[in-house]
Amino acid sequence: GDDSGSAGAGPVTLRLGYFPNITHAPAVVGVEKGIFKEKLGSGVTLDLKTFNAGPEAIEAIFSGALDATYIGPNPTVNAFSKSKGEAVRVVSGAASGGVALVVKPGITSPEQLRGKKIATPQLGNTQDVAVRYWLKEKGLKTTKEGGGDVKIVPQQNAQTLETFRSGAIDGAWVPEPFVSQLLNAGGKVLVDERDLWPDKKFVITNLIVSTKFLKAHPDVVKKLVEGQVAANEFVNTKPDEAQQAISTAIGKITGKPLDLKLIKQAWPTLEFVNDPVASSLKTGLDHAVTVELTQPTSLDGLYDLKYLNEALKAAGKPEVVQP
Amino acid sequence: MTSTTTAPQGATTAVALSGVTKVYGRGTSAVLALDGVSLDVAPGEFVCLVGASGCGKSTLLNLVAGLDRPSGGQIGLAGDTNPGLMFQEPALFPWLTVEGNVEVPLKLRRLPRAERRERVAELLRTVHLADFGRKRPHELSGGMRQRVALARTLALDTPVLLMDEPFGALDAMTRDILHDELERIWSERQLSVLFVTHNVREAARLADRIILLSSRPGRIIYSTEVNIPRPRRIDSPEVAAIAADVTERLRTEVGRHGQ
């Protein structure tokens, strides 16, 4: 395999991306424990890439430099809509949950947020939409420009802890591990986003594959999804070992092992499910339209869960709904 | 207005200027530096140019060297090499040693290293700076720099030599010695020389012909052949007589203009 994706004979290379991040636990563990390698077999060469942020991963998929990647819901939607539904397909979920609104200790009700500043990772991203929609439901107005009853401050996650500590913001609606960090900095959870969703499930990481690769090497994608299912199995059955693996694997990439305590702290808020919870993505998009952050976009055809269901069936697990 | 002077024997010509005019700048601040200068230098002829400060002597040499373009008129040169020009300032390359500076024209002519080294040593001996080859220009005195520039120009080995006050910063004795050296090289190599000087005696000592330029704009106002047999001495009465004549004419010219 190369970017031409020709279905010819010979060894295929699968270029797989992921982030050295706790919400990408199945990917990190699957790589570290050799699960993907085992599932893909000798006929497939696994070429691993790691990213720090979504845009690079999407750029890589778009330009044909990457075949599949673990990624958050937001870049997924962007990739799908900007390529007019061409570039990518979601073939599996990976993780759910792990998002919360953490605020200063004094704040215990939505009403107290009036006039306060709440940080989100990025204007118009999942968390940004979630906080705005939630506030709207509580009768608090927000504006894109950061005005309204509650001031929304989109900023890089890296900055959130600094600004929270320095008092420049009063709370933040962020994913793990930033939730745990904010809690350690004296914050209190005001809203656990899981509570807002049916079954307490909403997508935080899923696995996407470039359409071209999917067409050229469906068999490889199938094996990849099998690997994902097996990785989740590992993560869910041997959490201690998984946590340790995450810590060391991240250390190799970033230069310093991730604090095991932090992983353990964040762990319970996350759920590693194979279901991409398609409904949550759709609902999130509807919410975004409601808070006037985006135009309605069709997500028809984004999901291709055939392989996931095959893999789940083979593993003796319940299948998921193909939207 | 065109002032003309031709080489004595109407044979071939090494340098031919005809109606050369040079204007610097544009509009109201334009300066007419040369106005219709016509002048032929015969091969092997030694021509000295004298004239008041700012009358266009350096301009003329620059034009002949092809470093500047005349505003009018034509300049012809025998052979296809540009003449060697010794500038009024030493114009040494500060990043090179004395040897390095003298070596540049030899390198540009792709002489082999051994020959270059030999030529450089010889030239430095000619200008009495054999001990200073490894110094850098900023470590030299003014007169020494001028002599390095002379050596560098001589290294060019061009048949036509243009020299702009080459001995201006030298004491009388060193100058005398270099007069002899220059005369020797000139006759050995059959050079044509166009030599600018303020020292009228020097002109009379060296020249076959002395040409006097008027003050701005530069025009040829006087030309005289120096028929004193060589070798000459700068303090000989014949030289003094010629010098006195030229000085007198120069005095009239500057007096007319200077005040």
């Binding site: 204007l123 401050v153 900023q155 320095s166 913001i169 | 071939t12 092809g66 012809g76 025998a78």
Partner: protein
């Protein structure tokens, strides 16, 4: 006159204009204003045309999908639609205002720092090397400190911008001062210029070309730091070019990204024109204009 015997032809205008442009000083004597403007413009137009054509050809070749590499037409449409809305202009105004303030401040800091270090042996030994080291520090490394000091205010952005640009400007000053010709320094001192006066009357003007070069490099540093720094304080009340650059990437919106890049390039070209004019003025004064092809 025996010039007919000359072996070389006379040096005519035609012959000389055949030489390398470099070889002749002061050529464009009689050239009209219009011709001069045209001479400066056509190469730019040609370069632009070639670039756009090449781009279009690559796009037509289908080498990469259009969502990955949009064509000039699409980007042009995006640019026009951006230009019609208020967002681009608001962002541009905000960014330019910040750039101006930040740069002026950086220039002041950089010039003072450069002069101080160039002047004092002790200071130079102490922090001279630190200046280059600071220059190499990426902007994001300063973000935490900026927030610590200035929280989420515009000042935090300026802090990052100044830390990015001032060292570069200071380095320009130092290198300029170091190469002031010793003869001019001595002349200045002999004319009675000591201490600050020596700087004012001799060193500063003599170092001006290098200082302008440093200011130009400093502009690039300050602008790049600003593009990064604008993410520090996003969307509180206004959009900015830096934010648009990042958002367009975050949204994988290639046409928007490219049109933002074009805006940045245009700003860069305008600023370069200003520096170019300053530089040309200095070169004209110094008498080094027109020697090497411009």
């Amino acid at each position: 006159m025996a010039s007919d015997t000359l072996t070389s032809s006379a040096r005519t205008d035609a012959e000389i204009s055949g030489l390398d442009a470099l070889e002749i000083a002061g050529r464009d004597k009689e050239i009209s204003r219009g011709a001069r403007i045209w001479a400066a413009t056509w190469p730019k137009l040609a370069a632009l045309t070639i670039a756009i054509l090449a781009w279009q050809l690559v796009v037509w070749s289908g080498w990469k999908p259009p969502y990955s590499l949009p064509g000039p037409m699409e980007v042009g449409r995006e640019l026009i639609s951006q230009a019609r809305g208020p967002q681009l202009w608001d962002g541009l105004v905000t960014t330019l205002r910040r750039a101006a303030v930040g740069y002026v401040f950086s220039a002041a800091v950089g010039l003072l720092l450069g002069l101080a270090v160039a002047r004092s042996k002790v200071l130079r030994a102490a922090i001279g090397s630190m200046i280059t080291a600071l220059q190499t520090m990426p902007s994001i490394a300063w973000f935490p400190l900026a927030i610590l000091l200035f929280e989420l205010s515009e000042k935090a952005i300026f802090f990052v911008v100044v830390l990015g640009a001032a060292p570069s400007i200071a380095n320009g000053v130092i290198s300029g001062v170091d190469y002031v010709p010793p003869l001019l320094l001595r002349a200045g001192r002999n004319l009675g210029a000591r201490g600050l006066n020596l700087y004012r009357y001799v060193i500063a003007p003599a170092a001006l070309p290098a200082i302008v070069a440093g200011l130009k490099q400093g502009w690039a540093f300050s602008w790049r730091s600003l593009m990064a720094g604008e993410l520090l304080v996003v969307g509180i009340s206004q959009t900015s070019l830096g934010a648009q650059l990042t958002y367009s990437r975050d949204l994988s919106d290639a046409p928007w990204l490219l049109s933002t890049m074009i805006v940045i390039l245009v700003v860069g070209l305008v600023v370069d024109a200003a520096f170019g004019a300053a530089d040309k003025a200095i070169r004209r004064r110094w008498g080094v204009l027109d020697q090497a092809g411009n």
